[in-house]
Structures are given as C-alpha cells and as structure tokens.
C-alpha cells in the first residue's frame, strides 16, 4: 500500500516527453502490448491450469448464458417485428426469414453477445482482478509459488475466448427462435419452411466468420478486463475505475474490430 501511494507521488515529478496525458496513452499501448505478449508466452507454456480454465468457463460461459439468451430472444423478436412493415410494403413478407437470418447470424448474434459479455464478464474481470490487486491477493498468490498471471489472467482470457463462440451459437439459435415465433404468429409459417428460407441466404462462410468474430471479441473482452484489473491502482477507487475502463475499452474495441473484420472478410468474397 505504501509503495503504491509513493508511486503516484513519484510519477507526478517525472518529466514527460509530450504531456502527461499523451505519454500515458502511449505507455498504456506499450503496456498492453507487453501484456498480450506475456499472455501468449504463458498460455503456451506448461503447466496448463485446466481446472481454473474450466472454472472460468463455468463463470463466463454458463453464468452468462441466461442473459445472452434473453437478449438474443428479444432481439430476434423485435427485429422481426420492426422489419415486417417495410417488407410488407413490397409484398415481400415471405422474405422476413432470410432477412432476419442474415441480420442475426452475420451481425447481431456476435455483436450482441459480445456487448453483453463485455458488460457482464469484462466488468467482472476488471473488478475482481482489480480488488485482488489492491488487496495484495495477487502478491500473496505469487509468494505462495503460484504464477498469478497464469492462474488468473491466462485462464480468464482463454475461457472467455473459447466460450464466446459457444455463446454466439446459443444467441443465434435463441434469436432465430424468437424470430420464428414472431413470424409464425403473424404469417403462420411452418417451422420447416421458416428455417429453409432462413438458411437460403446464409452460407458456411457466414457462420464461420461469425464464430471467428466471436473469438476475436472474446479475446478482446478478456484482455481488456484482465489488463485493467491486473494493473489496477489506488485502492477501491482503482477497482471501480478498472471495471469501468474494462467495459468501455472492450466495447469500443469490439466495434472497431467489427468494422475491420467485416471489411477484411468482404474482400475474400
């Protein structure tokens, strides 16, 4: 505790290359780069913390399932409902399944799952690791001969990275079910014909690009949450800040990635 408060006193006296804010920004980028580098180094070195990874998978996957399912269902239903008038204007209400499946499978399922997970899992990681950091639990783990980075950070990032595609599959399914219920209650479309026309406009690469996006988003949420938490400072205030930054940071990056990935994947078409 003493040392951290001292740290901030000292940084105030440091000479800056440009200004405190801008220097800090570049320092953050460098630290983040180091952090990701360390993640890969430790993720691929034995021993693997299987038990903790499974535990984190439970936390970030299973515990988030209900939330993303409800959100996915609502999104599917509402999107279908809202799209109907404009399609009906062209007498093309029979196109609803294709339209909805394109929207849900290509974009909404990954994006919504990622945003929900950023809010739930990212903030949780930021807050949990942050409080462990400021109450010296991370140091305690280190002196009890456990690598805290590997145990806490690597397991969390791996868990969210690999649970995201699974969650996206669930969200997609539930979202399509929501859309189906709405279409069925309005157009009396049968389950089979709904899914036949829904899949008509979907291709394999759409599904795999969605899963790839999910992996990227998961990794982003994990890195943002753990980075903010692992380097939290200044007591309880720092914990709140870490949780907040984890969410803001990961949501922002998710949108940037969405843009980039869509651009890159479209160039392969």
């Amino acid at each position: 505790m003493e040392s951290t408060s001292k740290n901030s006193d000292i940084t105030a006296k440091k000479k800056y290359l440009i200004s405190k804010g801008i220097d800090g920004f570049f320092e953050d980028i460098y630290d983040l780069y180091q952090f990701i580098l360390r993640f890969f180094k430790e993720a691929f070195s034995a021993p693997v913390e299987w038990k903790e990874i499974v535990n984190q998978c439970y936390q970030v996957g299973y515990k988030t399932l209900l939330l993303v399912s409800v959100t996915g269902f609502i999104t599917g239903t509402v999107f279908t409902k809202q799209s109907r008038p404009s399609l009906s204007a062209f007498g093309a209400a029979s196109w609803l399944p294709s339209l909805v499946s394109i929207a849900i499978i290509k974009t909404m399922a990954p994006l919504i799952t990622a945003l929900i997970a950023a809010g739930k899992v990212g903030s949780n990681m930021g807050a949990e690791l942050g409080s462990m950091k400021v109450t010296e639990q991370i140091d305690a783990m280190e002196v009890s001969a456990t690598n805290p980075f590997k145990f806490l950070v690597v397991s969390r990032i791996l868990a969210i990275t690999f649970m995201m595609p699974v969650l996206v599959l669930y969200t997609g399914l539930v979202g399509m079910m929501g859309a189906y219920l709405n279409v069925h209650s309005n157009e009396l479309t049968s389950f089979t014909s709904f899914f036949i026309s829904a899949f008509k406009s979907i291709e394999f690469k759409d599904i795999f690009s969605s899963l790839f996006k999910a992996l990227c988003y998961g990794f982003t949420i994990g890195v943002a949450g753990c980075y903010q938490g692992y380097y939290a400072q200044n007591g309880t205030q720092g914990v709140g800040r870490a949780a907040n930054l984890a969410v803001v940071f990961s949501m922002f990056l998710i949108f940037v990635e969405e843009l980039l990935i869509v651009q890159v994947l479209n160039s392969f078409r």
Partner: protein, 264 residues
Amino acid sequence: MDKKDTQIDTQETVISIKDLKKSFGPLNVLNGVNLEIKKGENVAVLGRSGTGKSVLIKIISGLLKPDSGLVKVFGQEVDKISEKELQELRLKIGFSFQNSALYDSMSVRENLKFPLVRNKRDLNDKEVNEAIESVLNDVGLPQTINQMPSELSGGQKKRIGIARTLILKPEIMLYDEPTSGLDPITCIELNNLILKVQKEYRTSSIIITHDLTCAKITGNKVAILNEGKFLKIGGFEEVFSSHDTYIKTFYDYNFTENNKIYER
C-alpha cells in the same frame, strides 16, 4: 512464553543483505541496507510509515527487484535466479500480508488448500484435510474452516493469513505489520502466535512493525530503519538505550506516559 527458549543457530545465515538499494523514480526508498539473519532468529524492523519497510521484505520474497546490492536467501540471490528456482525458494518463505490478502472468493478451507494442492500435488484428500486442520489448530481458529474471509474479524484474517503460509512449512516468515489495526488483546494473541511459529516451525522471521511492544516481544533483534538505512541493529534494550532523537521518539510514544512529544 519466553523468547530465551528459542534456539538461534549463529552459524547458519539464512538471509544476507548487503548494500541493498531500491528507488522509485527520484525517491530512494532503500539506500544501502545491510542485514544478516541467522537460522531461528526473529528480527523486528521498526520504522515510520513510508520508509520502505515493506519494500525490504518484498525484495526478499522476490516481488520487487532491487536496483543494486546483494540479497541472498539460503545462499541464492533472489534477483538473479530463474523463475523456477524462485518458485522453489518461495516455498520456503512465508509472507504474511498487512491486509492478510485472503482470497475473497474462497472459503477458509479453500484458502488454506490453495497453496498446498498447487505445490504438493502428490497429497491425497485425507492428507490435505489433516494438514488444514492441524494448521488451523496451530493458529487457534479450527471453527472458522467453512467461513468466508468476509465473515472473519481483522485478527482472525491475520491468523488465517499466517496459517495459509504455515501450511507449506516455511523456513522463513516475513510478517508485514502483523499487529496494525488490531486491539491490544488481539495484538497479544498475534505476538504469541509469532513466537509459537518461531518455536514450533523453527522459522527465521522478519517482523515489519511500528509497534514497539510487538518488536520487543517477538524480535530477538530490533532494527530501526530511517531514510533508507538501518540506524541501529541489536537487542531491544541495546537499541533503545541510544540517545538518537528518532529512536527516542519511537520509544517515548510507546512506553512513556508523561512526555514532551505532544504539543498540548
């Protein structure tokens, strides 16, 4: 509990620090620290808040790297050895944190189990449970085994924190402010615990404190840290017979009723 019972092996040095320097930016926290700790010896390090007492033990446990100087634990330089060797070494060092640093998300049992199962993987469940129960008995809190850290009092947390390090049977104990923020009765219990650990686990210890009573009872030696250096190291009586104002002020606060240190 008489500290004369403890056996200090004056032949064997466990921790040896020579001209240790550590600074954070322009601030020199440690500026040439020299210290030797023999096997079975307790050294109480006294000093004001912010004089780098915690930094000293964090360097010994390898949490911080020194800028210069020599830090040897069991003959190994903690800042030079590999990560793997450091992990091996850390198994012999117990670290009791100022805020106990219990894992919030785990119960007392899981807290104690964590270092044990992660470092001694060949133990079966029965052996693990026996170890947990015996160490809890040692710190006098067998009833808390299924409680969460948030349900414990400050003193209980400190003792569970110590128990968590004792479960690995360390040879060196590093106590960071073991009595800070505790009531006098709990302080006495903790001081007794430190002595008990010294005797039963045959540990050498560094006790970081600014509580003179604690230093007097638990320390075979007392070292006063000021401005990054030890002003004096030696027996309690010897150190506090000094006329240095810094040392006198320390002593006066704890042991003199009527004094001139207050501006009233």
